[in-house]
């Protein structure tokens, strides 16, 4: 049962990271002139599983600037999530980053840790604003991790969390039933020079509700 639930959860994550299926592919975001000055930076994504062993997660990150381009996704610092997570190319095409990963092992993180590192190119003097949403955080039996949170930070100031108030919530109803997953997220503004700056950022909290497909659909 535990294994089945985990596989189902993984299937959801993989299919979430696989392309969605709109009727028509969306338009591509306008590019940035090659002549503009660019710099490269890293942004770390963290999850606090609140003392529960984290087996799977899905995170959605949105930025507000077309001048920031994702140029690579690296895995996390815990061995269970060291492999680079999958991303959804269709979402990326709409300027969203959806990351997902799963580990079926027994040595799972239960303390705050970096789950992924984003490598980005920033054009001109853009001060990108990021919003991170923890869509799914689950244990190895497929149940949601209560109170799990996600946050982002500049890797160059690795010891300094940019968003201390980050909270996220993913609630999942029993397998096989339709459910509404609620996700609270914070947006993290990281600005300034260098990576995403030492000036700190600002956070704003908001809540979204979305309707998701049945778990059974992904089996």
């Amino acid at each position: 049962m535990k294994c089945t639930a985990l596989i189902l959860a993984f299937a959801l994550l993989r299919t979430a990271a696989a392309p969605t299926t709109p009727a028509e592919p969306p338009a591509i975001a306008p590019g940035v002139a090659a002549t503009q000055a660019v710099r490269f930076a890293t942004v770390d994504v963290h999850i606090d599983p609140k003392d529960h062993p984290l087996a799977a997660y899905q995170i959605e990150i949105t930025g507000d600037s077309p001048h920031v381009k994702l140029a690579g996704v690296e895995g996390g610092e815990h061995a269970a999530f060291r492999e680079p997570p999958y991303y959804d190319p269709a979402a990326l095409n709409r300027n969203r980053i959806i990351l997902a990963a799963l580990n079926t092992g027994s040595d799972l993180p239960n303390k705050p840790f970096r789950v992924a590192r984003l490598h980005v190119q920033i054009s001109g003097g853009a001060n990108p604003q990021w919003e991170v949403k923890l869509v799914v955080a689950s244990t190895s039996d497929g149940s949601a991790v209560p109170g799990a949170t996600a946050s982002m930070s500049s890797a160059s100031a690795a010891t300094k969390e940019q968003c201390h108030e980050s909270t996220g919530l993913a609630r999942v109803r029993p397998l096989g039933s339709r459910f509404v997953r609620r996700a609270r997220a914070v947006s993290c503004g990281m600005r300034g020079d260098g990576v995403f700056g030492d000036e700190g950022g600002h956070c704003r909290r908001h809540t979204t509700s979305r309707r998701y497909p049945k778990w059974s659909d992904v089996g």
Binding site: A71, G72, G75, R82, H119
Partner: protein
């Protein structure tokens, strides 16, 4: 198992790292020993060979008729200064490349799919600023270029590529192939966007946008390859045969086979081709599916086999044109293999058939002004004409195409063009466009000759020509390959195919125009479905002569045994291929955008997209260093002196 080949036991390899490490000069296009001093080199018969690509590791697993392949390329810097490594390499032309990971030490960075130009700009920016970065671009559906920037001295960077593809099935056997080298290609005068050949260190000598540098025959790069294939057929696997390589094989259990390259056959200079049969009739018209959790449906592929009743029907009289590539790249064993195949064919024609022989290199010549009856006078004359043929010169394939297709059709005969070539040309779009425009009532059956033919060209020539492609390795018996060809054309094809999907709500089916079904050659159809159409009955209809035939097929998309995570990318890749074929002959500016959007949406390589990966966590010191092309050997059986411009 491939025939036993001589082992180069007498080679002496001396690895050295000179003490004198002077700074490198800027890149010199004419430098024969790039990038300069301080190099860890392989010395073979006094030839010094740069080796920025050290090793390739290929792991393939086959489930049903879909292969999942992981390719790992290990780049390293044996020099005293930073380098950018460039490697032009082949993959199967139907490979749906959807993963790209760069590994630096124990850190892995997943590459991002981008519009091609956008990816290139990101790569160039990162390279200029000293970040380790990699870029994968597609030059042809089966030719790719890997760039790796800012490899520091002594450091190693791995690039992993993952793809899915459907297997070929022909004459009772599945065929898995992995190409290892891009052959030296000829480009007609005036061409600049082709794939050109140059000698090692002669960067830019070909004048083509994409260039492959070749090692001389007495040189080795030190680049070797490991390859393993795991087959999980679900039913008994029989007659597993490696056509070109010596292999080690184990059978862990019934229905499974593990095949690995032998230790003494690891030079990447020929296609790896693995053929195997499965027991019983379980392979017949198999459907594989992948549900899409975000829509009410999913993706499927259907391998559609011809009805067995075709084999009981006689054929009409034929007009067969044998068109032989006699250019320089065919010199030696390849042209002899072509001759052997045509000899067999000539001797097996019927008296009511007609034929002609056309050969092309720098220009095209034909044996007779028009097709002649196959009789006791013409066949010996043709055999003599074939024997006198010598290979040499350029490959003006377009001339061969025109002479083969620009004819007045014979209303009493079916017209087949058997095209025997290695396909070493760089102007594929022009050739395919000409076939589309001139084909008329002819069907083209392409034969890829040699150890590393241009399979993209040959497959698509046949596809455009409403025929089939076959491959004639130097290790194949030419008679066997031709006998299968004759078996195929000795029975009518099922034409004008259409599929009534019954209870399945199906859309976006590719290929959009279904090809004809020939004996022994199934086709793969892919599409998207809605709902949960279990136990649906699908009806395939076609015509034999003027008579309509129908085949019912039961399909079950929920059958877990037929589920596969690679179906969606395979579908998207087939859609891109379909659009790409249209783009060769259709002046529709929207096609490029449709290909690009499909590729971006599904995260796939295409002519208009590329993968880029940047490690922005740390800069390397100094300038980005010298660009080093990775030279490759000419394919086994191909002569350097007749193919690589001197």
């Amino acid at each position: 198992m491939a025939d036993s080949a001589p082992v180069p036991a007498e080679e002496l390899w001396v690895i050295e790292n000179p003490q004198n490490k002077a700074p490198m000069q800027a890149a010199r296009a004419d430098a024969a020993e790039l990038p300069g001093q301080g190099q860890l080199v392989a010395r073979v018969a006094e030839q010094l060979v740069p080796v920025p690509l050290k090793h390739t590791d290929v792991k393939a697993s086959i489930t049903g008729y879909i292969a999942t392949v992981d390719v790992s390329q290990q780049y390293h810097n044996p020099y005293s200064e930073k380098i950018e490594a460039i490697y032009v390499f082949p993959l199967p032309s139907n490979a749906a490349v959807n993963e790209f990971v760069m590994t630096i030490g124990d850190r892995k960075i997943r590459g991002i799919i981008r519009e091609r130009e956008e990816a290139r700009q990101i790569y160039e920016n990162a390279k200029r600023q000293g970040f380790v970065a990699s870029l994968l671009t597609q030059e042809r559906p089966n030719v790719f270029t890997q760039h790796v920037a800012n490899i520091e001295p002594g450091k190693r960077i791995d690039v992993n590529v993952k793809y899915f593809h459907t297997l070929e099935y022909a004459d009772g056997a599945y065929e898995f192939s992995f190409p290892m080298v891009v052959g030296p290609r000829f480009n007609p005068p005036g061409t600049t966007d082709g794939v050109g050949a140059a000698g090692r260190g002669d960067r830019g000598a070909s004048g083509q946008k994409t260039e492959v540098q070749f090692l001389k025959e007495n040189e080795r790069s030190g680049h070797d390859i490991d390859l393993v294939v795991d087959i999980d057929a679900g039913v008994n696997v029989d007659e597993v045969k490696s056509v070109n390589h010596r292999v080690k094989m184990t059978r862990p259990q019934e229905g499974r086979a593990h095949v690995a390259l032998a230790d003494d056959d690891k030079i990447p200079n020929k296609d790896f081709v693995l053929r195997y049969k499965v027991a019983g009739k379980t392979v017949k018209s198999a459907l594989m599916a992948q549900r899409d959790s975000k829509s009410d449906g999913g993706y499927f592929t259907l391998m559609l086999f011809p009805p067995e009743s075709l084999e009981n029907l006689p054929r009409k009289p034929l007009e067969i044109v044998f068109t032989l590539d006699v250019s320089g790249s065919m010199n030696g064993r390849p042209i002899e293999q072509s001759k052997a195949a045509v000899r067999y064919a000539l001797k097996n024609m019927r008296p009511d058939d007609t034929f002609n022989v056309i050969r092309f290199a720098q220009n095209a010549q034909q044996m007779a002004p028009r097709a002649v009856p196959a009789n006791e006078q013409t066949i010996p004359a043709a055999l003599q004409y074939i024997e006198q043929t010598q290979a040499g010169g350029g490959t003006m394939m377009i001339e061969g195409i025109r002479q083969s297709l620009q004819v007045t059709p014979d209303a009493d005969r079916l017209r087949f063009v058997a095209f025997l070539t290695d396909g070493y040309i760089g102007n594929e779009p022009e050739i395919l466009r000409e076939i589309h425009n001139l084909r008329g009532p002819s069907r083209i059956f392409s034969f890829g000759v040699g150890q590393a033919p241009n399979r993209y060209l040959l497959d698509h020539m046949a596809r455009m020509g409403q025929g089939c492609a076959a491959y004639l390795s130097l290790n194949d018996e030419a008679d066997d390959v031709m006998a299968k060809y004759f078996a195929r054309i000795s029975h009518p094809a099922l034409t004008d195919l259409s599929i009534d999907w019954g209870g399945m709500q199906v859309r976006d089916v590719y290929p959009a125009k279904l090809p004809d079904l020939f004996v022994g050659r199934p086709i793969v159809v892919t599409g998207r479905y809605r709902g949960n159409p279990d136990n649906a009955i699908v009806h395939v209809r076609g015509k034999v002569g003027g008579e309509v035939r129908e085949m019912p097929l039961a399909v079950n998309v929920s059958d877990a045994a037929n589920a596969h995570a690679g179906i969606a990318p395979v579908w998207a890749r087939m859609k891109i291929a379909d659009l790409g074929d249209r783009a060769t002959y259709e002046n529709n500016p929207e096609l490029a955008g449709m290909i690009k959007q499909t590729a971006l949406h599904y995260g796939l390589m295409s002519a208009f997209t590329a993968f880029v990966a940047v490690d922005s966590s740390q800069r390397t010191a100094g300038e980005h260093g010298t660009t080093v092309m990775t030279p490759v050997p000419v394919p086994d059986g191909v002569r350097y002196d007749t193919t690589v411009p001197q």
